[in-house]
């Protein structure tokens, strides 16, 4: 009796196991053949390469795309040099494996100049998204539509709300927030002076520490605003006037600025009330105390409102094995909701205007509003960071040396600039590189 019952149980268990095994095997066979039919595209990117950001790309950004289209994406994070070498060898051997490139404007500019990039105007239009004129203009290089703008970053000013009480006569909060004609570098000087005199100490700050990005303010903001160019007017009379201005302004700058690498901490400590820095480096302050700060466009100078725009584009190499699938990914990555997701996770700003309406209220909206206000000013004079590769360090050091000698050590302006100018020009000439915009407009 007992023996029979046991054998019955065993029979049932064996039957269940057999059924599960057959069903599982069938499922495995089905999915594996499905996978064979599935397209896998290779996306090589120099952006979002740090481990945390890659985890976001692979774990959050790409799965919805694969679900929607059935296209699998292999994300390959590379340095610029690695991408350049790989692309070059693939082009030479005629065996292209990269389907999509994510790179800064400067890099794609170079690839396009070598004839490695597909003209994207042959693809259908991306409906429901508007790219700002500035970005649209810069994506057309070497006679082709070289890339679709994917992400941007820039450097803006942050104002502690307490500073609004010390605006100089003739300047309103509205002027500053919107970046009107009245929001000039002279107005900034008057404001900083007013703050200095009425609060008992300097309140304007810059990230001029050894890892700070102050050098970008020099070559990408002050130089274009005062001389109309980043490089070619380095020792012009306009440049001399600019340095005189900076010497005057520096009297009202927090002296600790030469030790600041990022402005979030000094802003939060209250040591600095008006700061300039990269959006990623002030994000912390605004996230911690969104009610305390406003993000505003930079002032304008005699030649316009110079500012640096970091543009990351998506390009398709010539001969890419899955062009159409790559275009689908471009379509997905430039959707407003995808762009907002990227902003929330990694702090790069959207390149489509429709995305700004979708940024949730809070610190990110404070930032996004400032960035968009700056990009939309009518006198915008966009400066792009030159792609000098390993020589980029020397480029920065020349501007920093000028700053140290002229502003910190009070050396003669004209002779300092004259002595550094040949070194600066040589950087571009020795590598046969064009000067970066706005010195030489792209088109």
């Amino acid at each position: 009796m007992g023996y029979e019952a046991i054998s019955k149980t065993i029979a049932i268990i064996i039957t269940i196991i057999v059924i599960v095994a057959i069903a599982g095997g069938a499922y495995w066979w089905y999915t594996s053949t499905q996978q064979q039919q599935q397209v896998t595209i290779t996306w090589a990117s120099t952006q979002l390469v740090p481990p945390q950001e890659q985890a976001f790309v692979k774990g959050e950004l790409l799965p919805p795309f694969t679900q929607e289209t059935g296209i699998k994406v292999e994300f390959v994070g590379l340095s610029y040099d690695e991408l350049n070498t790989r692309l070059q060898s693939e082009m030479q051997s005629g065996k292209v494996t990269i389907d999509l490139i994510g790179e800064l404007h400067g890099g794609i500019d170079y690839f396009a100049s070598q004839g490695w990039i597909e003209d994207l105007s042959k693809f259908p239009a991306l409906s429901g998204r508007t790219f700002p004129d500035v970005l649209e203009k810069y994506s057309h290089i070497h006679g082709i539509k070289a890339y679709v703008p994917w992400m941007t970053a820039t450097y803006v000013m942050v104002v502690n709300k307490k500073a609004w009480d010390y605006l100089p006569p003739g300047l309103t909060k509205e002027d500053v927030m919107k970046g009107t004609d009245k929001w000039t570098y002279d107005a900034l000087l008057a404001w900083a002076k007013n703050l200095y005199e009425k609060t008992g100490g300097p309140k304007l700050g810059f990230p001029a520490g050894p890892n700070g990005l102050f050098v970008r303010f020099l070559h990408g903001y002050l130089y274009p605003s005062f001389t109309g160019a980043q490089v070619k007017n380095f020792n012009s009379t306009d440049a001399v006037a600019m340095w005189q201005y900076l010497k005057e302004l520096w009297k009202y700058v927090v002296p600790e600025s030469t030790t600041y690498d990022a402005m979030a901490d000094p802003l939060l400590r209250g040591d600095v009330w008006i700061a300039w820095d990269h959006t990623a480096r002030i994000k912390d302050a605004i996230e911690q105390k969104p009610d305390q700060f406003d993000v505003v466009p930079v002032p304008r100078g005699p030649k316009g409102r110079g500012f640096i725009l970091v543009v990351v584009g998506l390009a398709i190499p010539k001969g890419a094995p899955h062009e159409d699938a790559a275009w689908k990914l471009i379509d997905y990555l430039t959707r407003p909701e995808t762009q907002v997701k990227v902003l929330e996770k990694v702090g790069f700003f959207p390149t489509v205007k429709e995305a700004s309406a979708k940024v949730p209220a809070g610190p990110l909206q404070v930032l996004a509003k400032g960035v968009i206000a700056q990009e939309s000013t009518s006198d915008a004079l966009v400066a792009l960071i030159p792609s000098l590769g390993a020589k980029g360090g020397d480029f920065k050091q020349i501007y920093l040396t000028a700053f140290e000698k002229i502003v910190l050590n009070n050396e003669d302006i004209k002779s300092t600039l004259d002595s550094l100018y040949p070194q600066l020009i040589n950087l571009f000439q020795s590598q046969n590189l064009p000067l970066p915009p706005p010195d030489q407009p792209v088109g």
């Binding site: 100490g201 520490g209 600790e256 030790t259 400590r269 040591d271 910190l408």
Partner: protein
């Protein structure tokens, strides 16, 4: 059988010392020799050709801060080391006398040793900043009306002071540990003997403590001086490049300017100075033992 084995052992016996030295030698070759050769190669050769371009840049380019870095590194070592040694010496003598809570006192003295240089720099940066603890204390006590500004290129002297304060706070403990250990090793019998002969405190210090402490002092000085030439984290966090130092410039040239040749040159210069100082100290402090 036996008669065959013994000559073999004798034969290899003379190689045994070399065999025993092998691990150390291999270590020296791979981890010291090879990188050193690499550094020389990076500094003086480009595409297989000898070049002085890096040296020229280091010495003459307006973009290089070598002379300032050398000046400040020497100056910092000259100011910090005497303070640290005398302070550590004083504390060690004090701690050598037993008292209640002695162990607790020793631990608290060596506590800063557990904190990394960058962290120590950050702690003092926050304390000495215009809105920091130090300034707030002085302002609210009515001693000053305006905060003392310790940082920024315009206040280089104060930055220098801040570095000295932080370094003394952070690294005096290592000197203390070495000197204290040295003091503890001096046998009580010497003191007792001195007492019997009626030696004064000064005489005891002059003829027992000081000579017997010389080897420890030498070790402490060598370690401290070598560290002084590698000073980096504290300066970097407190003063950035307002006060350039050799190790900081090596780092900056490598990471920000992408000049590996120049960075190697800095490394070689630091190594050269270190070797020189080690040599001088060993010559200068030949330990004289009482039981010679």
């Amino acid at each position: 059988m036996d008669s065959e084995e013994i000559p073999f052992m004798v034969k290899i016996e003379k190689y045994i010392p070399y065999l025993l030295l092998m691990p150390a030698l291999l270590y020296m070759i791979f981890f010291i020799g090879y990188p050193l050769v690499q550094a020389v190669g990076l500094a003086f050769f480009e595409n297989g050709q000898f070049t002085t371009a890096n040296l020229d840049y280091l010495l003459y380019s307006p973009l290089s801060k070598f002379w300032d870095a050398l000046k400040y590194t020497l100056l910092l070592a000259a100011v910090i080391i005497p303070i640290q040694v005398s302070v550590a010496f004083a504390i060690a003598l004090l701690m050598n006398v037993p008292f209640k809570g002695h162990n607790l006192a020793v631990y608290s003295v060596i506590l800063p040793l557990t904190i990394s240089d960058v962290a120590a720099g950050l702690i003092w940066y926050v304390m000495l900043s215009p809105n920091g603890f130090f300034n707030k204390l002085l302002v609210s006590a009515g001693i000053i009306s305006e905060p003392v500004r310790f940082f920024g290129a315009a206040n280089r002297d104060m930055e220098f002071l801040a570095i000295v304060i932080t370094e003394v706070w952070r690294a005096t403990a290592i000197v203390f540990v070495i000197l204290f250990a040295g003091l503890q090793m001096i046998s009580r019998e010497y003191y007792e003997a001195a007492e019997v002969f009626g030696a004064t405190t000064w005489q005891r210090f002059r003829y027992i403590v000081f000579p017997m402490l010389l080897p420890s002092l030498q070790a402490a000085l060598i370690i401290r001086t070598l560290f002084a030439f590698q000073i980096f984290g504290v300066v970097w966090t407190l003063a950035g490049r307002d006060i350039p130092v050799l190790a900081g410039e090596a780092y900056y040239e490598q990471t920000q300017l992408h000049h590996p040749g120049v960075a190697s040159l800095y490394a070689l210069i630091i190594a050269l100075i270190s070797v020189l100082i080690g040599y001088i100290y060993t010559k200068l402090f030949k330990a004289r033992y009482l039981e010679a």
